[in-house]
């Protein structure tokens, strides 16, 4: 298990199935809910940060998502699906944030230049490649990054991405193709 600061006293709930935890949380068990927060919160934070392009708003988005989840747990028919249900909530919240942000500032973050470190002479180690990928992902145009993140972190189908983002499926296909090529091209440069 990954080490965590302030680890709770071991409880049988820590290893309970998602279904058990979701059922208990729906019944009002805050301890079961806390186990779900610990189990999927980190993934949800990574996911939100990727969609948003930075971690400035991650705390807020993830917190709002869990509060929504708590309120709506009664509507979750199958507790085994709680992970993808949570991912959907936080994905939606993150996308809403982006939309709201766009109303306030007319930003155009498309095609930001890739950071310097991508010059072909560097980065052989996996760790650096990983960091480099993080930079390239962050520098992707917003729509591409959103599509890519929904696809890769939340396992959405093309159709689901289209629904979620209100875009034609053909556009989603195109955005994913562009994102894929950009990532592949950048990776070629790291050799």
């Amino acid at each position: 298990m990954l080490g965590r600061v302030g680890e709770q006293i071991a409880s049988p709930l820590d290893t309970a199935t998602d279904q058990m935890l979701a059922d208990r949380a729906a019944d009002g068990d805050l301890r079961a809910f806390e186990v779900l927060v610990r189990r999927y919160g980190p993934l949800m934070r990574v996911y939100a940060t990727r969609i948003l392009g930075s971690n400035d708003e991650t705390d807020d988005v993830v917190q709002e998502s869990f509060i929504t989840a708590w309120q709506q747990l009664g509507t979750l028919a199958d507790g085994r699906a709680v992970k993808s249900w949570l991912m959907r909530i936080v994905g939606r919240r993150s996308i809403d944030r982006l939309r709201a942000r766009r109303l306030h500032v007319n930003i155009d973050d498309t095609d930001a230049p890739a950071p310097e470190s991508h010059a072909p002479h560097v980065l052989a180690e996996t760790l650096s490649q990983t960091e480099a990928l993080a930079h390239v992902l962050a520098a992707l145009p917003e729509e591409q990054r959103r599509c890519w993140t929904l696809r890769e972190l939340a396992d959405y189908s093309y159709g689901e991405i289209a629904d979620e983002l209100n875009l034609p499926a053909s556009t989603v296909r195109g955005l994913l193709a562009r994102a894929r090529k950009t990532l592949l091209r950048e990776m070629e440069d790291w050799r």
Partner: protein, 216 residues
């Protein structure tokens, strides 16, 4: 990675806009098709892909991208898991227990003007608590079936439970039933006609609860 194209020569198929060049460079295929092919585990085998050295280069690139993505996710998750617990505390602090309180169940009171209730959520809490005091059993969903708003109206309680594998199921279920009965008698005035316990799962010996974040 010397198996790829020479560093000074770009791999044409990774060109951003030109689908025709992409297909020309990939034996008539697109990167999307190759990516789907990888998703399918390269089955059923497609000769026009497998036999094309250009496709092979692209497939290797895609595989490498996936590997690096997976390790990036792992790294990010590790980083997030090592954070202090403030964010968890802040979530739990902002949660309202009322949201899951359910129906109100009247309790008798000597004064005719006083109205005393216990919430359904609190009763479920009492039931869970009774179960959690027992070993080798975990109580899941608890449902109060019947009109709980009418005092002395008999109700049924339906409980899901998980029992550790290897335990005696009927014996533990009976113990749970008794514990729940006596806890309800202590804290509520509910008339319980029956407590139906369904053992829906056997709980396998504890192992670390690492989220199954990656199975690709």
């Amino acid at each position: 990675m010397t198996e790829l194209t020479p560093a000074d020569q770009r791999f044409v198929a990774f060109d951003l806009d030109d689908t025709e060049r992409e297909q020309a460079g990939l034996n008539g295929h697109t990167l999307e098709q190759l990516s789907d092919y990888l998703d399918r585990g390269r089955v059923p085998a497609e000769k026009s892909i497998d036999d094309s050295p250009d496709c092979e280069i692209a497939l290797r690139g895609l595989e490498r991208l996936r590997r690096v993505q997976a390790s990036l996710l792992e790294l990010d998750l590790k980083r997030e898991s090592l954070r202090d617990d403030n964010w968890i505390a802040s979530i739990l602090d902002n949660i309202s227990l009322e949201a899951r309180a359910g129906r109100e169940i009247p309790l008798a009171h000597p004064s005719p003007t006083a109205r005393l209730v216990i919430t359904e959520g609190a009763v479920r809490g009492i039931l869970r608590e009774a179960g959690d005091r027992l070993e080798n059993i975990l109580v899941g969903r608890c449902v109060l079936v019947g009109d709980v708003s009418v005092p002395a109206n008999p109700i049924t309680i339906v409980v899901d439970a998980t029992i550790f594998s290897g335990e005696n199921i009927p014996m533990l279920a009976e113990r749970l039933r008794q514990a729940m009965h006596s806890a309800l008698g202590r804290y509520t005035e509910l008339v319980v006609a029956a407590i139906d316990i369904t053992v829906s799962d056997l709980y396998v010996a504890p192992k670390a609860s690492v989220p199954d974040e990656q199975n690709r």
